[in-house]
């Protein structure tokens, strides 16, 4: 049988602001067989989304399909009229975008939006389409399939919304579905349920799919074949198993290598108990938004009773899912959000809660590096000013001295000296993050708060930033509070790790403690939710993990009871949800917050 999609020497060009042609997809040829799932994998700028969109005969504004042919079911899409293409889109070719929240109209109920394409193409009466949508909801394992369609987008979770988006795509029984990074914005535990639902739906319906992503581990679970792209050129096409086991192309190899960050050797000597106080100590901090009540707890508590300490020259990793309060913790330490209760100590001396009350020297000691390099640098100021200001502000440097120091800082973050005159808009993502880091270094701090510093970067570029952080730590003896949602990154770069859930500290220990059982039930869930770079991982997930993963994330509550109660598979009703949860020291050296004893956890795990 002829393949469903045949792309032949596809060439796509973009026109930039100055009107220069820039070829972003260069003579790409591939085919997709019926019933096959093909993954397009590459970093940002590799042309993967451009290719995926061109499969619908679509090019973004300023982009034109310059040559080649795309045959869909034997007909060349590029020869068709707009009208013919419109009749294909949404009916025969469907698209699942990355951001479900942006793809739904917040003012209309979900069911109406899900069946919309069937109505536009007049494929079936409304009642039939609704019945079909409900059966799809069931197939995609959505809770309460009959009723979920009556809700509005803000009333369902992100993972559910993403599955509803898939239902929207599948309602017309398209022969080709294009998934564009559908799980990238989701938490790992949510990603599991969505991936499983997608995989099941694709398998049962025999749908042909093109899956666009940058995440090799995700692709390994879902794709039959992988196309590796870089700079608009196909580097390698092969079956998933062969790409993972025996990659031929050097670039594929570097991608595989970057997917598993090298674990740095622990600086055991630095971890030894010393007489000097820790760089940072946080004691029983509670913080949040809104007015505080009589007990000093804010109306919307985000973090509750969190304590930590970071020793000189070491890194503490804070991990958790979105909304767990990890960024809020950084803001509390920096004084941007004054804590409602508790204490923050820098080098043994207590700090005022608000940045406005701290002295210049106290402020200098703690610097913050944000996730989004795009918004963290003032777009109207050149690099020289961005780096020069903290030098002037904290150290009173000016003129030639300041210029020399800026050059030194650029050198420290491995950027060429001619970058000084550039504006942030003229830098790449990785370069911006380096400038961002250099600005923090300019203050000569003892602690840097790294808030998801690599999350917005491509794997390879992110790995380079992590290397840089490690080198700087060695050279300057810096301490880091490293916030991330990515477990493998944290395991690779941190000496100690703290796991947060709904504002509560769940487990805290040495990084090696994360590899030893018993773990806190939430740590267990988090660790088993990270996709592994091998086929069949998704199908082999245990029932317990699935049940915990699919339950919704809890919001931070007010009491001292365990916030993981709702999702926990080893909970003790009547105790965990009522009594304050005790901190326990485990024999592996970690602290956990749990009602269960070490023996109980071991025993329950063994079952």
């Amino acid at each position: 049988m002829a393949p469903l999609v045949e792309v032949d020497r596809l060439r796509v060009a973009a026109r930039d602001e100055r009107g220069c042609e820039n070829v972003i997809v260069k003579d790409v040829s591939f085919e997709v067989q019926r019933g096959e799932v093909v993954a397009l994998i590459g970093e940002s700028g590799s042309g993967k989304t451009t290719i995926a969109l061109s499969l619908m005969g679509y090019a973004r504004a300023g982009v034109t399909i310059a040559g080649g042919s795309i045959a869909f079911d034997g007909r060349n899409l590029l020869d068709m009229s707009q009208r013919e293409i419109s009749s294909l889109r949404g009916r025969d070719i469907a698209y699942v975008p990355q951001s479900a929240a942006a793809a739904f109209n917040p003012a209309r109920p979900l069911l109406k939006q899900v069946i919309e394409s069937s109505q536009i193409h007049r494929l079936m009466p409304v009642a039939e389409a609704e019945a079909k949508a409900v059966s799809l909801f069931r197939e995609l394992m959505l809770p309460n399939p009959e009723k979920v369609g009556e809700r509005y987008p803000h009333q369902v979770s992100g993972g559910q919304l993403q599955r509803l988006l898939a239902a929207m795509a599948l309602v017309t029984d398209p022969s080709l579905v294009i998934f564009d990074e559908p799980t990238t914005a989701l938490d790992v535990t949510t990603q599991i349920e969505v991936l499983r639902a997608f995989k099941k739906a694709i398998k049962e319906r025999g749908t042909t799919a093109v899956y666009v992503t940058h995440d090799l581990a995700v692709v390994a679970q879902i794709a039959d074949r992988i196309i590796v792209l870089r700079d608009g050129i196909i580097r390698e096409i092969d079956a998933t198993r062969r790409i993972l086991k025996e990659p031929k192309n050097d670039y594929t190899k570097s991608l595989l290598a970057a997917a598993e960050p090298q674990v740095r050797t622990a600086r055991s000597e630095a971890l030894q108990e010393t007489s000097t106080p820790p760089v940072l100590e946080v004691k029983h901090v509670t913080a949040g938004y809104g007015a505080t009540d009589r007990e000093g707890i804010p109306t919307l508590p985000v973090i509750r009773d969190v304590s930590l300490s970071i020793k000189h020259g070491t890194t503490l990793g804070v991990i958790g899912e979105s909304g767990c309060g990890k960024s809020t913790l950084a803001r509390v330490v920096a004084g941007l959000l004054p804590a409602a209760q508790g204490e923050v100590l820098l080098n043994g001396a207590p700090l005022p809660r608000s940045a406005a009350e701290r002295t210049r020297d106290q402020l200098r000691g703690i610097q913050i590096v944000f996730q989004m390099a795009d918004t963290a640098l003032n777009p109207a100021r050149p690099v020289s000013r961005i780096l020069g200001r903290p030098l002037e502000f904290y150290h009173g440097l000016s003129g030639d001295k300041r210029r020399r120091r800026v050059a030194e800082l650029l050198d420290m973050v491995r950027l060429p000296a001619n970058m000084v005159g550039r504006f942030p808009g003229e830098l790449s993502g990785g370069q911006k993050q380096r400038v961002n880091l250099a600005r923090a270094l300019a203050a000569e701090p003892s602690l840097i708060l790294c808030d998801e510093v690599t999350s917005a970067l491509d794997t390879v570029v992110g790995a380079a930033i992590l290397n840089l952080l490690a080198e700087l730590q060695r050279e300057l003896g810096l301490a880091y509070l490293f916030i991330s949602h990515d477990l493998s990154t944290v395991k690779a770069v941190c000496d100690e790790v703290m796991i947060l859930y709904a504002g509560q500290m769940m487990e805290r220990g040495n990084r090696s403690a994360l590899r030893e059982r018993p773990l806190h039930p939430y740590s267990e869930l988090l660790i088993s939710s990270v996709p592994e770079l091998r086929q069949g991982w998704l199908d082999g997930i245990s029932e317990t993990v699935l049940k915990e993963a699919t339950a919704g994330v809890a919001r931070p509550g007010r009491g001292a009871a365990c916030s993981f109660f709702e999702r926990c598979s080893v909970r003790i009703p009547g105790r965990c949800d009522i009594e304050p949860t005790p901190l326990r020291r485990l024999s592996k050296g970690a602290d956990i917050r749990c009602q269960r004893t070490e023996e109980e956890l071991m025993e329950l795990r063994a079952r």
């Binding site: 402020l363 003032n378 550039r422 570029v461």
Partner: protein, 288 residues
């Protein structure tokens, strides 16, 4: 290829620096503005007639050699009146707008970066000011102080300030929420630095558009005050009052009513053409 190579390859793809220049439409706007500013300065010296001189026997006279733009309802030379009125329309309106933007804009940005109590107090104060009918208050002020150019400028500026405050505050609040302002705040910077270095350069584009809009408001407000007899005093007149006083000629399509309107239109279009086409950081269409 090693990982290090691919990093340098990825990072080398950043855009080189470039200088942009004013596009044609912007040039046209600049030329129009330059022309009117010149007329505001030298108008009385190049005008063929005295501002109040009756040079035509009929009202609403046609174009002729002596009266290139015809005559108004009293038989005065329209061209001369427009040239002499330029300094009132442009001078008073521009000065009042600058003053309003300076007060409203500074306080708006201050409210945005200070947040909390200062923001609350300033916002409520300007809400109260905005709730006073603007022309009524202008009438009272001018009746009490008498009509002079400086009183007019001050009154119009005060009327325009709350709107400027609102717009600037709204723009500044958006920028204020961005991480780089947060970084500066964590560094310990004061409100003055935050306004000057972090916020202002990043709202320059939209704020200029606001200036253009408010300038037009000022021209119209001035003309309505003149219509009530409280603005520019006869025989002098700003362009708005030229339109008003000749409004009876509208039915006949008299040039006396069309030409001042054209003057206002060209000035407005000129200002907005220039502002909309400013390059780089000042561009109103730039994304943040």
């Amino acid at each position: 290829m090693s990982a290090q190579d691919s990093i340098s390859a990825v990072e080398a793809s950043a855009l080189p620096r470039r200088r942009s220049q004013l596009p044609l439409a912007g040039m046209i706007g600049a030329v129009i503005i330059a022309f009117w500013v010149l007329m505001a300065l030298i108008g009385p010296y190049v005008a063929p007639h005295q501002v109040g001189a009756l040079v035509d026997n009929d009202g609403f006279g046609r174009m002729q050699w002596a009266l290139p733009l015809g005559s108004d309802y009293l038989g005065r030379d329209v061209l001369s009146r427009i040239l002499i009125g330029a300094r009132y329309s442009i001078g008073v309106a521009a000065a009042a707008t600058f003053l309003a933007i300076f007060m409203g804009g500074t306080l708006g940005m201050l409210a945005a970066v200070s947040r909390g109590l200062i923001d609350m107090a300033l916002s409520r104060f300007f809400d109260a000011l905005i709730s006073i009918p603007s022309k009524m208050s202008a009438l009272v002020v001018i009746a009490a102080l008498g009509s002079s150019i400086s009183v007019l400028i001050g009154t119009i500026a005060v009327i325009l300030t709350p709107g400027a405050f609102r717009t600037w505050r709204a723009l500044a609040v958006n920028v204020n929420a961005l991480d780089f302002v947060e970084v500066a705040r964590a560094r310990g910077e004061g409100a003055g630095y935050l306004i000057r270095e972090e916020v202002l350069p990043n709202i320059a584009g939209p704020v200029l558009t606001d200036f253009g809009l408010r300038f037009v408001f000022a021209v119209l407000l001035l003309s309505s005050l003149s219509f009530l007899g409280l603005g520019v005093q006869p025989p002098n007149a700003d362009w708005g009052s030229l339109v008003r006083e000749n409004i009876d000629g509208l039915a006949d399509g008299a040039l006396a009513v069309v030409m001042p309107a054209v003057a206002i239109a060209t000035l407005t279009i000129g200002v907005n053409l220039l502002i909309d086409n400013l390059p780089g950081r000042w561009s109103s269409s730039r994304e943040h």
